[in-house]
């Protein structure tokens, strides 16, 4: 009798981990550089397609092709930053956010249609030999692939957390978040920090995309869906806290699952629940669950 509820909860947590990972990527970019890259979902999609190609063209297991996927996305990130976003660095914050929002839209349009040309509109996914395996714990079925995704997400976040807290570069990034002008005066190369943060965010999106391609499916129009999820979780968790953002992802995942289970016919309203939650948080508690109250 606890079975379906627990199962529901677990699936919510598992998908929430991916939401959290995607959101942390976006948060890395937005938190540090104040670029609101709404093409984040499309970059996630590119990560998924990269692992798809590695699997179908070269036969490489998706969990092993992470390095190449990350490299691919790092290159894309560097190119995008140098060509597009670096011009926005010196703008005042409001203009910076708005312009990057617009650039992100143009970019998402381009990437969406490129994906359409390259991979057609069919749903794609990576199905390995072990894709259907699951372990059953206390009556709850845990698919191996999604468990691994949760594990990888946690590892990435831990690594990121340690990087930001324990390394000099991480400290430089945090200093830039607090006050980029002061950081510049202190001798921190802002452009390097921005580039690094942007690329980190893009790489995280790529990792999340790979996990989505293995555990779920990818198709050219998924970008907006994932960008929205990342945005929602970023706002829900609050800027400035990686673990907080991740928890926000779990919260969204569980809320969606619970709502689709409890509301009759609720499966179709799954997305709406998240969006309504988002709007409520925006209006009532804009700093999110764990963010610092900045306004």
């Amino acid at each position: 009798m606890l079975g379906p509820i627990a199962q529901n909860l677990v699936f919510g947590i598992l998908v929430g981990a991916l939401y959290g990972l995607a959101a942390v990527g976006l948060s890395m970019v937005f938190g540090v550089t104040k670029f609101l890259n709404v093409a984040h979902g499309e970059l996630l999609m590119l990560g998924g397609y990269a692992s798809f190609w590695a699997f179908t063209l070269l036969g490489v297991d998706p969990f092993l092709s992470f390095p190449s996927t990350i490299l691919f996305l790092v290159i894309i990130g560097v190119v995008l930053y140098k060509v597009l976003f670096s011009r926005m660095v010196k703008l005042p914050e409001e203009l910076k956010i708005r312009n990057t929002l617009l650039i992100g839209f143009g970019l998402s349009l381009i990437l969406q249609n490129l994906a359409l040309r390259l991979w057609t509109a069919d749903d794609r996914g990576v199905t390995t030999a072990y894709s259907g395996w699951a372990i059953t714990l206390l009556g709850v079925r845990l698919p191996i692939v999604r468990l691994a995704s949760l594990g990888i997400a946690l590892v990435c976040l831990l690594a990121l957390h340690l990087f930001l807290r324990r390394t000099y570069t991480g400290k430089a990034i945090r200093a830039t978040v607090q006050d980029w002008e002061a950081a510049a005066v202190m001798g921190i190369d802002i452009h390097k920090v921005y580039l690094l943060s942007f690329v980190l965010g893009v790489a995280l999106a790529g990792i999340a995309g790979t996990l989505v391609s293995v555990g779920y499916s990818i198709e050219p129009s998924m970008g907006l869906h994932w960008t929205l999820k990342a945005l929602i979780v970023m706002v829900l968790g609050g800027l400035g806290s990686i673990m907080g953002t991740f928890v926000g992802g779990i919260v969204l995942g569980v809320t969606e699952s619970a709502a689709s289970y409890l509301i009759p016919g609720g499966g179709t309203y799954r997305e709406v629940v998240g969006l309504v939650l988002f709007v409520l948080v925006l209006i009532l508690r804009p700093q999110g669950l764990f963010g610092a109250k900045e306004r």
Partner: protein, 305 residues
């Protein structure tokens, strides 16, 4: 002049596909101009514009099919959109800048998904309407509404309210300090934008024989309208018109070659405009004219040999 040309177009060219193309251009002109009132002149990026378009189309379609006269159905569509605008305006305008943008994006998505769930079946014209379907009156409806919407936008922005809206766009806090109520102007712009988008939706509902009620709520309508306004030039009256025309022309030119390639080109152009030419084609044209005028002057002031 241009209006006469447009008015006589279907009489001269009895080509249905050209008339349909013209209707598409007019539709985008209307959608883009209505977005421009809030987005271009008041500086509030509304990413949920499709909600007004969709709601207007939904209301008009339901009323018209159930027997209401067309004019009333259209007006009802507009008013329903305004009701939504007022409902979401008060909470939404508590959000500044980018938070308003993503908040409206979320609201638009909520409506999109909800309508798709509540009304999943296609809306088809009943036999009696289908039999009496004529393209020409629909063309003239679109033309008339487009003229109306551009006209309303023009009158609005040249009025004192328009100045207030632009003041809010430039520097909201400074405007407030001068006694311009930012909230009032934003709400007004939102309602005007919503009403006109609702009318556009109504025309859309009148024009299409069959479509899914969810379709006009799709975010693509907002993004297309927004990009046309930017490429043409936000904050101008001609901008959305130029953008709409450009979009449809490019799409048709490329339609035979690579499908959807026009969107990639559009995306690139959009990015170029945002990066280098914030005033769009209108600004580009102004710059060219200025450069030419300067050249002419330097020719004239050169001493004769």
């Amino acid at each position: 002049m241009l209006l006469a040309f447009l008015a006589l177009l279907p009489v001269v060219l009895k080509n249905d596909s050209i008339i349909n193309l013209a209707i598409l251009v007019l539709l985008y002109v209307m959608l883009s101009s209505s977005w421009n009132i809030l987005g271009g002149y008041t500086g509030q990026t509304n990413l949920g514009h499709a909600a007004f378009f969709g709601l207007g189309s939904l209301a008009t379609r339901l009323l018209w099919i159930s027997g209401w006269p067309l004019a009333l159905s259209l007006l009802a569509g507009g008013f329903v959109a305004v009701v939504l605008a007022l409902l979401i305006g008060f909470p939404a305008f508590r959000l500044r800048g980018v938070y308003f943008a993503i908040g409206t994006l979320a609201l638009g998505q909520i409506l999109f998904v909800t309508v798709g769930n509540v009304l999943p079946q296609i809306s088809a014209l009943p036999a009696k309407y289908l039999a009496s379907y004529e393209l020409l009156p629909r063309y003239y409806l679109f033309l008339g509404l487009a003229v109306l919407i551009v006209g309303v936008a023009s009158v609005l922005v040249h009025s004192r309210l328009g100045l207030g809206m632009m003041a809010v766009r430039e520097e909201e806090d400074a405007a407030e300090s001068l006694g311009i109520s930012a909230l009032r102007h934003k709400l007004l712009a939102l309602c005007a934008s919503a009403f006109l988008a609702g009318l556009t939706g109504g025309a859309f509902a009148f024009y299409h024989v069959g479509y899914y009620p969810q379709f006009p709520f799709a975010p693509v309508w907002t993004f297309d309208a927004m990009m046309m306004a930017y490429i043409g030039g936000t904050g101008t009256i001609e901008g959305p018109i130029i953008g709409a025309l450009f979009y449809v022309v490019v799409k048709e030119l490329l339609a035979l070659k690579l499908v959807e390639f026009h969107l990639i080109i559009f995306g690139i152009l959009f990015i170029l405009v945002v990066l280098f030419l914030p005033g769009g084609f209108v600004e580009a044209w102004k710059r060219v004219r200025k450069a030419l005028a300067r050249q002419l002057k330097s020719f004239q002031s050169r001493p004769s040999p």
